[in-house]
Assembly symmetry: C2
Homo-oligomer: 304 residues x 2
Amino acid sequence: MNVPSGSGMNEDGLIAHVRGRVATDPAPDIGIGDDACVWTPGGPTCLSVDGIVEGRHFTKDDPPQAVGRKAAAAALSDLAAMGARPVGAVVSLHCPSRWSAVEVMDGVLAELQRHGCHCYGGDTTAAEQLTISVTVWGESVPDGRFLARSSAEPGDLLVLTGQVGGSLRKGRHLSPQPRLAEGQWFAMQMASKAMMDCSDGLAADAAKMAAASGCGCLLLPGNVPRHDDVDEAADVYTQALCDGEDYELLVAVDAAAWPALQLAWPFDLPLTTVGWLIEQPGNFIEDHLGRVIPSPFQGFSHGL
Amino acid sequence: MNVPSGSGMNEDGLIAHVRGRVATDPAPDIGIGDDACVWTPGGPTCLSVDGIVEGRHFTKDDPPQAVGRKAAAAALSDLAAMGARPVGAVVSLHCPSRWSAVEVMDGVLAELQRHGCHCYGGDTTAAEQLTISVTVWGESVPDGRFLARSSAEPGDLLVLTGQVGGSLRKGRHLSPQPRLAEGQWFAMQMASKAMMDCSDGLAADAAKMAAASGCGCLLLPGNVPRHDDVDEAADVYTQALCDGEDYELLVAVDAAAWPALQLAWPFDLPLTTVGWLIEQPGNFIEDHLGRVIPSPFQGFSHGL
């Protein structure tokens, strides 16, 4: 770790605070406070980094603990999207003095611990804009494997966990629920072909899975499960398909095995067919008259 | 990865650019463009994240490729400090439109490749302040082990690679040289007890190693090797001990084995005794009259 920021605490103080809050079981080979952490992987390892930035993924008025929780949850969602079991995390925190670095880190640690992910260390500097990058890694579950987004095939059904839409407007975007148990379950089913999490809106994310797998996709907007609180006075399909920051799982499954898979689904969360993959490249929908047309939906883009 | 920024290229374009520049050997199990990367570790793994921020670690006028190289080199220096061999990296890039994300990433990739470190992916968002966090991981070399900073003992000599001082004033801070080969060599010597890299100034870094190892330290300011270009009109000792951003290795070695170690040192880089560890907690120096006094030197702090 490098340096201090905010909350009247310098970096050494922050390290001591974090070390005091981190579970000592499992003990890393080398942990917080050294140049790097050391652990002994149990096999093939899956790793992702995800960063969130003030003014784009949260506002200056959001509670610091909630912001920290979101940073950790968004990163863990990438492990869920691979079907991985979380093992460890390190945090890169760039924190202006108007934010409490301690409260942000408390949020990060609470969310990591809730999912059995050990914090092994990190780096902190002062900055003008609060930026939190969380690197997480994990391993596959027994009888499971990692599910890439590029291994789907034309004819596979696209199924979605939970509901989507209205995440930003209703504030749900601040408390994403990484679908780790659900992702691990899919990783153990032979009928699962490919998986990803939905952070940019179902329309954009389905298109990404299709492109990565060298095919096209067709979505059924009327079949996409929406949150109860989407704005019914506005276009509900656009909200469900384009709002983004849903963090639900989109899974390509073998169509022939779908009924058995649906019956075996052990979670309360809904699991819904939202479309399928097709040979023709490009993104299509079936409109309310049953006609196949090019998709009019664009996903959410953080940066433009 | 999340989103676009700068240089008229969106995130998908940046991913494609990076993918085109990354060596395909060794091929990861799952690489750039998925929710997470996957690789198969060869054993205990050492990981660190290091972030640099515009206005603190570089200026708005520095060349983007140099900034990218610095971000990667600073992170790799943490692996050098453990004696590790680099394996992989992921990059979290938060980039305002006035910076070229492509040129920054070109700098990151060039520096990673120069040290045999594979880029496995990352995440990018728009931001108001350029912030680059690089997560790197590595493994130990044959017949080597990882060297923590906490395993030194009173009586161990403190030895330093290269020269220190004037890094910020002379611009050397933009092109740190991670001492990977040297760190790996120390990791193979039984006489090496503890190691770290010097980023906050030798005075602060030696104090950190001593504190982590539960002892104190005594430095010999007159013996600390200074760069030829430190400002001889100003206090040369303060420059050498406090300027920071040197990225040289500080190693605690068994004093009895020092002559043999010095004779075996296979590098052109100087290797110099700069002090030793003592039982009494605290930081001391031997002044120009040979008196032991409390250290008047404070290290560089990025954030205050």
